[in-house]
């Protein structure tokens, strides 16, 4: 058998085995199915991929829409920042000090289990129908998942690390900052990931409820006036924001915490 013949005998990589081909094909099939179902069975105003694609540029270049997107995402980031700082502090304390844990456990666990939508009416009672109410709901939605995960992380710091810190006569503060905090970072990142999803939901429901300008209100307003294609562009922006944040956290974890691989 000649060399050419031998090469020809090796089967070429088949298209069907290429993951990218499979993914693209599935994406195209899903979009096509959506388009056909809406065309065939739904009223004309219902969003469909071709309509959303047509609405994409006009909406994205509209200054009002950009302001709305900035307001919502800004509130999400601000709420997350507040929750990360406060939640990490409270979580570290709960994880390392038994009596703090005993004192706060019932409150943190039950508020963690509370659907954040249910506190919306209270937020509007205290903050009015304003952006502050939105920020409060976002921070409430995010704070408890970070606290719970930070406490889990602080609790599960290996005993040996603490013994070494103790043997070197590290003070309490240095132990927390140099040992406990870095060791619980993987848990914290998991908490932030969970919190980011909740924060987005919190911002959107707060806007539904308070009619404060933002992506949620944009969706509500346009779907009421049967401009579903335009409204769906806002959903796309929310999805992109959620996925980007998730990817960013994964990248951070891989880049800076390579020892904390997911099992």
């Amino acid at each position: 058998m000649s060399r050419a013949e031998a090469l020809a005998a090796v089967p070429a990589p088949r298209l069907l085995d290429s993951p990218w081909f499979l993914r693209l094909a599935a994406g195209a099939a899903l979009l096509l199915a959506w388009e056909l179902v809406v065309r065939g069975f739904a009223p004309g105003y219902v969003a469909r991929p071709s309509g959303v694609a047509r609405a994409l540029w006009p909406v994205l270049s509209d200054a009002k829409f950009l302001a709305a997107a900035g307001a919502t995402l800004g509130a999400v980031l601000a709420g997350l920042a507040i929750s990360i700082v406060a939640g990490t502090a409270v979580g570290m304390l709960m994880g390392r000090a038994r009596l703090v844990e005993a004192g706060l456990r019932y409150y943190v666990n039950s508020l963690f289990a509370t659907p954040m939508v249910a506190i919306l009416p209270f937020a509007t009672l205290w903050f009015g129908y304003t952006g502050d109410a939105r920020l409060a709901v976002v921070a409430f939605a995010a704070f408890f998942s970070i606290t719970v995960n930070a406490a889990d992380g602080a609790r599960s710091v290996p005993r040996e690390y603490l013994e070494v810190a103790g043997a070197f006569r590290a003070t309490g503060w240095r132990t927390v900052l140099d040992v406990v905090l870095p060791a619980s970072l993987p848990y914290l990142i998991a908490g932030v990931r969970l919190a980011a999803g909740r924060a987005l939901v919190g911002a959107v429901v707060a806007e539904f409820f308070t009619s404060v300008p933002g992506l949620g209100y944009y969706i509500l307003f346009n779907s009421r006036t049967f401009k579903h294609d335009e409204a769906f562009v806002a959903v796309v922006v929310l999805v992109v924001a959620g996925v980007t944040f998730e990817a960013l956290l994964n990248w951070l974890a891989r880049r800076y915490l390579p020892w904390a691989r997911r099992s």
Partner: protein
Amino acid sequence: MILPGHRWQARAVALASLALGAALWELAGQRTADALWAPLSGTLARLWELAAGGVLAARAASSLTLFFSGFALAVAVGAPLGVLMARAARLRIAIEPYVMVLYATPMVALVPFILSMMGFGFAPKVLVVFLFAVFPVLYNTIEGARSVRPELVEVAQSFRSGEWALWRDVLIPYTLPYAMTGARLAIGRGLVGMVAAEFFLSPSGLGQEIMMGSQNFDTTLMLATLLVIVALGVALIDLGSALERRFSRWRGLDR
């Protein structure tokens, strides 16, 4: 450095902190305007009144019916579809990224679309709870499906196992713990979906009660109902965690 504390001390601190919380609640209620916060005593009296009148049971039953309809549908769709991915590797590779994207999507953004397309019935509300709950189940079950070891399937096949026996003895036992993790996460999300549906679609159940309270500045009604929602949330999430733990021991992670 773990700040110590004996068991009895921890218990005393927990009790003291609950008592302090109750006292603060009561004081805050008496010092602030009625429209902002109500005292604990008034809230509990209102809760008792609602419970005695049967209103509470009816509202809670309506909310739970909605929650469990959507949740059951999410598990019934998400779990089998996820297990199927253990047998259809190409399909799994093809749709995994989309499931991930949908898992990260704030489903609440779809509520206005559902409202204007489906109106005010029970079905659109179930759809909302379903959408909130299905992707955690599907995503985690697919993760389980990915981890089914090919050797197990090969051994089963070399013993001429039929498709049904393969599912019963290998695939389902292997992916169930992952599906349970998904179900636990789905409970939390489903509860958010439940209240969101009751607020923004046709008002019903406990959500309607909170809305009525907020429209009439009736803070005792709002707080009493919120207490019930918190209690339901804690109970359901604890149930989910207990189930998950039960099955993760089976997976052998809980050693």
